[in-house]
């Protein structure tokens, strides 16, 4: 039997990435008791992965340093698998946590969008962020031939990182057309900081050719990747490589927000001026409210943290900064919108759901995500549709229904210990 740990906090923050760290620190400034919960052992989220001991740029180090000196209770290596109003159930290796909270801040971040194309499930085909994380945790890439493909500034960041670790990045395939990127770059003149940042990334990855209107069509190889076939300005060609890193945008992690019945608008959690969701006392910051990167996540986190701790004036002082950051994100979103050709890469037998081995064809014949799940088992495996669900949204225009509990797989003993909340339970969706 696992030990059961029960704790009460004024503010619980889920997710220890930039938004969650900023939120927790802002909330703790008032003296409120704050818990910061993350499934990774160390804080930092995907982007500042590895915590204080990892090599990060100055800003990351500054935030992680502040966190370590703060009174915030960090609960690492712990996954929230069930949420009620006022209580969370979370699981670590040997413990079950029952956390009662006054206010809740969801900073659950985002995951990579995977688009299925022939061969995408082959060994050595990775998500761009995924490959970067593997390299951070020790995968050697020195001298390896790598192709990076997808869209957005993330590709440059990953390319810069891999180049500096000795990888031979053969090319960066950006799906957006050159004209759109040029317009975007000109428009960024009013955000010199962003422009400089992008230029630096490009400089650090300068040895890798940067192609526009280029995207992967197929990953080729027998039992592991040997080459990638790309469409480069309308021409098909093959590039031999050992790793392919694909980054087609991020999709927000909405499972917790949905479990708490927070209103979701156009795929993102709807929040008011103070980052509060449709559920009173439940705030949301960072990628789940709109994919916006580190800068926006931090300011949203700070606003949510101050607001949750009852310091509305401190929160409101940050609104202009947030507005500015949001404008930059909007321009970026337009520039890197995914082209429709990317929805047509899969062949009928390309896998869509790798947990349950469901092909594109088997899922496609259904009218809704719910029907596809029930009849093809698409999205019914351990990842609960986290990968194929987002892809299906893009490919078929389906909308995800509320996800079923638990939010993450949890030991049956933990599921049996889910507490009965004093107030009426928040709706975890049932069979509908």
């Amino acid at each position: 039997m696992d030990s059961i740990i029960q704790r009460i906090f004024d503010v619980a923050v889920i997710g220890a990435g930039p938004a969650g760290i900023a939120a927790a620190l802002a909330a703790a400034e008032t003296g409120a008791s704050v818990a910061l919960i993350d499934d990774n052992p160390a804080p930092g989220g995907q982007i500042w992965r590895g915590g204080r001991n990892a090599s990060h740029h100055l800003e990351a180090r500054r935030w992680l340093e502040r966190l370590s000196k703060s009174r915030v209770t960090l609960i690492g290596g712990t996954r929230v698998f069930y949420a009620h109003s006022g209580a969370l159930e979370a699981e670590s290796d040997h413990s079950l946590w029952q956390l009662l909270y006054g206010k809740l801040i969801l900073a659950t971040g985002a995951r990579e969008l995977f688009l299925p194309f022939p061969g995408w499930t082959m060994p050595n085909v990775f998500g761009a962020g995924g490959l970067q994380a593997l390299v951070k945790s020790g995968l050697p890439v020195k001298g390896k031939h790598v192709v990076i493909a997808g869209t957005g500034p993330l590709l440059l960041a990953v390319a810069a990182y891999l180049c500096e670790r000795g990888a031979d990045v053969l090319c960066i395939c950006e799906q957006a057309p050159f004209a759109r990127l040029r317009a975007f770059t000109l428009g960024m003149a009013s955000y010199p900081g962003k422009l400089v940042e992008t230029a630096q990334l490009r400089f650090r990855s300068r040895r890798a050719p940067y192609l526009t209107s280029a995207w992967p069509v197929a990953a080729l190889g027998q039992d592991r990747l040997q080459a990638v076939r790309i469409s480069d300005n309308g021409r098909l060609r093959e590039i031999e490589c050992e790793y392919l890193a694909c980054g087609f945008h991020l999709v927000p992690n909405l499972e917790l927000a949905r479990a708490l019945d927070c209103r979701v608008v156009d795929g993102f959690v709807g929040v008011n001026e103070l980052q509060e969701t449709s559920q009173p006392g439940v705030y949301c910051a960072g990628e789940p409210t709109g994919i916006g990167g580190v800068e926006l996540s931090i300011v949203e986190g700070q606003i949510a943290g101050h607001a949750a701790a009852g310091r509305v004036s401190s929160a409101k002082r940050l609104l202009t900064t947030r507005a500015r950051s949001r404008r930059a994100v909007k321009a970026m979103k337009k520039a890197f919108a995914l082209r429709p050709e990317l929805a047509a890469l899969a062949t009928p037998d390309t896998l869509l759901c790798r947990c349950e081995d469901v092909s594109f064809e088997a899922a496609q014949k259904h009218a809704t995500w719910r029907a596809a799940k029930l009849h093809s088992r698409c999205g019914m495996g351990p990842c609960q549709g986290r990968v194929c669900g987002a892809a299906a949204e893009f490919l078929f225009g389906w909308t995800m229904d509320s996800s079923r509990p638990p939010i993450f797989p949890a030991r049956c003993s933990s599921l049996a210990a889910i507490s009965t909340p004093a107030s009426p339970a928040q709706g975890h969706g049932g069979s509908q």
Binding site: M1, H366, A367, T368, R370, A371, L374, H375, M380, G381, P382, Q384, R404, P405, P406, P409, A410, R411, C412, S413, L415, A416, A417, I418, S419, T420, P421, A425, G427, H428, G429, G430, S431, Q432
Partner: protein, 379 residues
């Protein structure tokens, strides 16, 4: 008004699907109307255990007839139906339940159903992960397991190949006198109508006594080989279940994927589909009592569903009172997957005026009006 078909079926769950196929095989022009999608109701939420039951003589003959029909059909079932003749082991925890094992065994033997009594040792050999000690069990080899949504789709596809028409996303708001009124304002007419709407059947046919009985299920990650048979506690018969109060029973099913499906719970007057953590907890604790290893297994999904339950635990199959066009095929409670095929046979025989393979009387909907005074506990 358009003449849609000879027979119009409302509901594309497994019962509607089985009726459609049986009628289509007989050359009847069938149209199926479904408000949501195939298996959207109890079929899609269910466990998929094909099991012979002996709660009553009528329940036995319907489940046994159906089990044989599934066995006859199984070679034609596509792989995604995941038919597995794993058998059921009814587990006896104590001597009282062992007495029930012996009674059940001779009941089955008298009626030609192969069943074998397991002593504690052979029970342990059959299912090494079960707790020790247990008094024994009854192994019923002919029971099996299927994935119900795939089975319903298969039956419907067969029916469509034989000329049936399936309309999804068509909500029926009125049904009777040869007409089905749709939510979009149109009316379809047919010689015969079948209400196979499961828990929603009373909405279309006033006076039917079917109430939703909520259940919970948990599915685990893959642990191949842990459980080999469908395992059900015999206490199930004591608890499974009272007509008025909430109950749980140990009932676990191995899926072909190596996943385990853990049940079961029964609740009346639970209108919402949310997970009820109190009964979920009782249900899982019951499972741990019998199969301790499950406590450390990863549960990947919990869901709920509603069984269409009648007061006397028998389905409603047959013509409806004074409307000669209307037939009911609903109210199968937790046995709809098993009894769907027999229901299709009975309905088809009734509509075509043939004599059915088993007596149809126990399931006639008219019994509800006769015994109306006895059902107060149900309300």
């Amino acid at each position: 008004m358009t003449r849609a078909a000879d027979v119009l079926i409302v509901g594309a769950g497994i019962v509607g699907a089985a009726c459609a196929l049986e009628l289509a095989k007989a050359g009847v022009r069938v149209t199926i109307l479904e408000e949501r999608f195939v298996s959207a109701g109890a079929t899609g939420a269910s466990m998929g255990h094909i099991v012979v039951m002996d709660d009553s003589e009528a329940q036995f003959s319907l489940t046994r007839y159906s089990q044989v029909l599934w066995e006859e059909l199984h070679e034609e079932l596509p792989p995604d139906v995941e038919y597995e003749r794993c058998g059921t082991i009814w587990i006896a925890a104590d001597e009282e339940e062992m007495a029930e094992v012996r009674r059940k065994c001779s009941y089955y033997a008298d009626r030609g159903v192969p069943a074998e009594i397991l002593d504690p040792r052979s029970l342990h050999d059959a299912e090494p992960h079960l707790r020790v000690p247990l008094a024994g069990g009854l192994f019923v080899a002919g029971d099996s397991v299927i994935y119900p949504p795939a089975a319903a789709s298969f039956l419907l596809q067969r029916a469509v190949e034989l000329g049936a028409t399936l309309h999804l996303g068509k909500a029926v708001v009125s049904l009777g006198k040869g007409n089905a009124g749709l939510a979009d304002g149109t009316t379809l007419s047919a010689g015969r109508l079948i209400n196979a709407a499961g828990q929603f059947a009373p909405k279309l046919t006033c006076g039917i006594q079917i109430k939703p009985r909520k259940g919970h299920l948990v599915i685990t990650d893959r642990y191949p080989g842990t459980v080999r048979h469908q395992l059900v506690e015999l206490g199930y018969l004591k608890s499974a279940h009272s007509l008025t109060s909430d109950s749980v029973a140990f009932n676990i099913q191995p899926r072909k994927t190596g996943q385990l499906l853990i049940g079961s719970s029964r609740q009346y007057n639970a209108e919402h589909d949310e997970v009820d953590s109190a009964i979920l907890s009782r249900m899982l604790e019951r499972a741990f009592e019998y199969l301790p290893a499950v406590a450390s297994f990863a549960g990947i999904r919990i869901w709920t569903g509603f069984r269409p339950a009648t007061p006397d635990k028998l389905p409603l199959i047959g013509p409806w009172l004074d409307d000669p066009t209307l037939y009911i095929a609903s109210g199968h409670e937790g046995l709809g997957i098993t009894t769907s095929l027999a229901t299709g046979k009975l309905i088809c025989a009734q509509i075509l005026g043939q004599s059915p393979a088993i007596p149809a009387e126990p399931y006639l909907p008219s019994r509800q009006t006769v015994s109306e005074t006895n059902v107060e506990a149900h309300v």
